[in-house]
Symmetry: C2
Subunit: 534 residues, 2 copies
């Protein structure tokens, strides 16, 4: 950690000596206000570590409080059901006790989605990670029934035995669960087309206080408003998602990738716009601003980098890459040498085969140094947050979506707002070494716009990190909403985004959601405070 | 009409002499039970023709009743607002009068979606077709704000001036409106990827009794359950859709198409499955069973026909067609000579240009004889329904969706059920000339399944057509639901599909929808009886 702190100082010109987190033994935690009947056996636990480790998510404001041992809102009990009937048991018992229930997957929320900020009301955190099986595979339709508590690695490991993959790789991949992805409309692997887990869901099953919710397993339907779309993004307020049928696919055998450098950011935007409006649907189409590329080690800070990749389990994808690169060239993009991957056998792989060799990589691996560097940084970033906290570096990421026509002004305003807020809050400004960093990348691209993702790194004022973070968060959230954006493209709403989400959603929709919630959860036990007032 | 009747007899071996519809003058219609204050001017009308022509949709059971002059449930008044504030006026006045309000676009519902089956309750039918402007075009993001009452031709005509098209061509294209498409989750032009209008919507605006509902214009979002997805498929029960931002595109300049013949239906299914699971996303990928191909004049009745087409406004699409045809060949498909279309200029057309030449076709035109024949039949079929009624031919179409793994058994069961029901109801059976026809096509294809669409033609017993139709409808709907399908892939639920829709949807979802409706529409004025009990 001392070396990390030195490295951070060398690289960014800010950050202090590494401090040490308050050890668990020194953490003071409120005594549980609930006691589970012994008849429930080990379904509930009041163990200190179990409670503390589920007291918050992974936002900077969570990690920094954890670092200082400030666990202000620990759940009173943690429930760890083994099956659906135990989920029902937990809900019934909690309702009888007047307790709230917070569904918990990987605990990777960066929006306060799992923190029991409920004052005097007792709380059970319902951890679903024991319910994590691959229940059934349909290799013909390329779909699988998977339990909600399966983490990314756990579900991929089970699918691998069938030669299949879900290819849903949010940054939280290692810890987050399928149920959490569905409840929060997680963003996945694909930069275009199937950008959210929404697009991969065939059927969702949930337990509500009003009974079991199970949609039909269908490739498509037009029968009334989609029931699945009401659970997607419901963040636990309507029911506890227990399992789902999701679309899977054979692992890609053919890949074609290239990195394109742009001098001007506007040119890069135009290139992306042409590529997605052409319907090319690249699997990767991520734009790193020069400063972001430098920060993640993918670039030299002089060029903006567009990471382009196509993939297929069925046929070579050289042709669409060539079209995309021609479009990029028309906008003054300079591509490096494209990289192609073909299957080892050289033969076409037919779909739906069982028992395919399992020697393929479990996690997405890179095609070239820039993409590799970026991808490595992408999956490491959540862990770095811990290091930053220890070293006195304030960090925040926030993300949104915007149509092309308003993008330039919106992007400039948000960047400027973030810079100003950071300067005011941390007392540092300017450019170059020692100045705070505000950088941007585009994580997803649509025919009608993109999802910009912003990163803030600045020197923290130790002891005041939460207040600093809250101020920056408020300023940039105002900018997102005032500028016509969404408060979140794939991080969810939780508790931290509530004020801006409330302004974003249509009033009658809020009233409808409130009524739906009251109907299904009349005692308001399910994740109170998320999306709606507790 | 006499010639049509003879032609039908010659072709199918059943059907009688053409009879004449009861003329409007002889139709007896209940006196209006509402009277609009004169202050409203011509906002409301009680004119007989206006009321009668909005008394039903276009299902066979509607057309046959209209033919016999049986307008059992005419609206008491027809409102024709010119703008959003007049929509609000209609809702307020109707609520004060205790009247129901049925939002009405093209009146092309085939599921009883616009028929006021409300007994003693007075009804205003709210026709939105005067609210039909293209309000704004964003050529950069390829999106347009269009008012809900614009019919297919009307919106395409306005977009054409900008060199753009929505390319949403449901069979109801000529009459149906954008608002109707959104309210019913209409199926569009594309056989894969963007199969429903759902996928084209950026923002929806509606008037509810509780106020204005307006989502944000975004390319994507993850902020809570999607508000748009709650209005999509809401069939008028939550609010009156007044306008929407939708995705549009330049007209396709490059096309590549081919028709593939298959001896075995199973082979054709496997070919489609491989093509869609490969991620090729053809614009057209419709399979006509041999009998359906013969009926529509697209084939000789010996082969099953797969109509394949790719299109692009950006680049040639020969390559994906070649891959798809190779897949089809692997499954014993025999393709005719592919047909390619390139832009007249031979130059690449850049996106987002305004004032493009408008000499392009307004409606989808064919690429070859089989596809032309089928497409001609597709757009003519709704009109033929009138002719069939006059000639004593019973006709019905119904549609669903099913995953690949269960498709073969499901398809066989539904076909057998339809044949048995038709035989029982009409007293005719068997094969060949004079026997009823039950045929199938696949209208949309997904990686995990397809949307089968069934057509029934049989001799009607004159005077008993509605009862015959209801019996067949009930039998096939049971088969769809018992077999795990959806009661509708893109025809909507309306009143006719209610019993099966009620079985299909998750119980807690129904409760949530009911609560949402009660919140937004406490006097239950909006399209009562559709989706939920009145």
């Amino acid at each position: 950690m001392a070396e990390a702190a030195a490295g951070i100082r060398a690289r960014f010109g800010f950050g202090g000596e590494a401090k040490t987190a308050v050890p668990l033994a020194e953490v003071e935690v409120r005594a549980p206000r609930l006691k589970a009947p012994e008849a429930f056996g080990d379904l509930f636990t009041a163990d200190k570590y179990e409670r503390v480790s589920r007291a918050m998510g992974k936002a900077y404001r969570d990690v920094v409080r954890g670092f200082y041992g400030r666990f202000e809102n620990p759940p009173d009990l943690v429930a760890r059901p083994r099956d659906r009937s135990e989920v029902e048991t937990v809900l019934s018992w909690a309702e009888a006790e007047g307790a709230a229930v917070i569904p918990f997957g990987g605990g990777t929320s960066v929006v306060g989605g799992v923190e029991p900020r409920l004052g005097d009301r007792p709380v059970v955190t319902l951890d679903l990670r024991r319910i994590d099986r691959l229940v059934e595979v349909d290799p013909t339709s390329l779909a699988a029934r998977i339990e909600a508590g399966a983490t990314g690695p756990r579900l991929e490991e089970q699918l691998r035995g069938h030669g299949l993959t879900m290819r849903c790789y949010p940054q939280s991949f290692e810890y987050a669960t399928l149920g959490g992805w569905i409840a929060t409309r997680a963003g996945g692997h694909f930069a275009t087309k199937e950008t959210h887990v929404d697009d991969l869901v065939e059927l969702v099953r949930a337990v509500t206080p009003r009974g079991s919710w199970e949609s039909r397993r269908l490739p498509g339907s037009g029968a009334g408003p989609s029931p699945d779309r009401m659970l997607l993004g419901s963040e636990g307020i309507l029911g506890v998602i227990t399992d789902a049928w999701v679309r899977v696919r054979p692992r890609p055998e053919w890949k074609a990738a290239a990195t394109v450098r742009f001098e001007r950011f506007g040119d890069a935007c135009e290139a992306i716009r042409e590529i997605v409006q052409a319907g090319l649907d690249p699997a990767n189409c991520r734009l790193l601003e020069a400063a972001e590329a430098e920060m993640t080690g993918a670039g030299d800070g002089k060029s903006h980098l567009l990471l382009l990749a196509f993939e297929s389990s069925h046929h070579p994808v050289d042709a669409p890459l060539a079209i995309a690169l021609a479009a990029a060239k028309d906008h003054r993009g300079i591509a490096d040498e494209p990289r192609y991957t073909a299957p080892l056998t050289g033969r076409k792989i037919k779909q739906g085969l069982r028992n395919r060799p399992t020697n393929e990589e479990g996690a997405p691996k890179g095609d070239d140094s820039a993409a590799d560097s970026w991808r490595g940084a992408f999956f490491l970033a959540p862990y770095l947050r811990d290091t930053f906290v220890a070293c006195g570096v304030l960090s925040e990421t926030f993300e949104t979506a915007m149509t092309w026509d308003r993008l330039e002004e919106f992007h400039a305003t948000v960047m400027e707002t973030a810079r100003r807020a950071v300067a005011e809050v941390t007392g540092t400004a300017g450019e170059g070494r020692g100045a705070p960093l505000v950088t941007c990348r585009f994580t997803h691209a649509y025919p009608d716009g993109v999802a910009p993702y912003f990163t803030v790194l600045a020197p923290a004022i130790r002891g005041g990190e939460v207040e600093q973070w809250d101020e920056i968060k408020a300023a940039v959230s105002e900018a997102l909403i005032d500028g016509g954006g969404t408060i979140t493209h794939h991080h969810a709403v939780g508790r931290d985004h509530r004020p801006w989400y409330d302004r974003q959603r249509p009033g009658p929709f809020a009233a409808a959601l409130r009524a739906a919630k009251a109907e299904l959860d009349p005692a308001a036990i399910l994740n109170p405070g998320v999306l709606l007032d507790p």
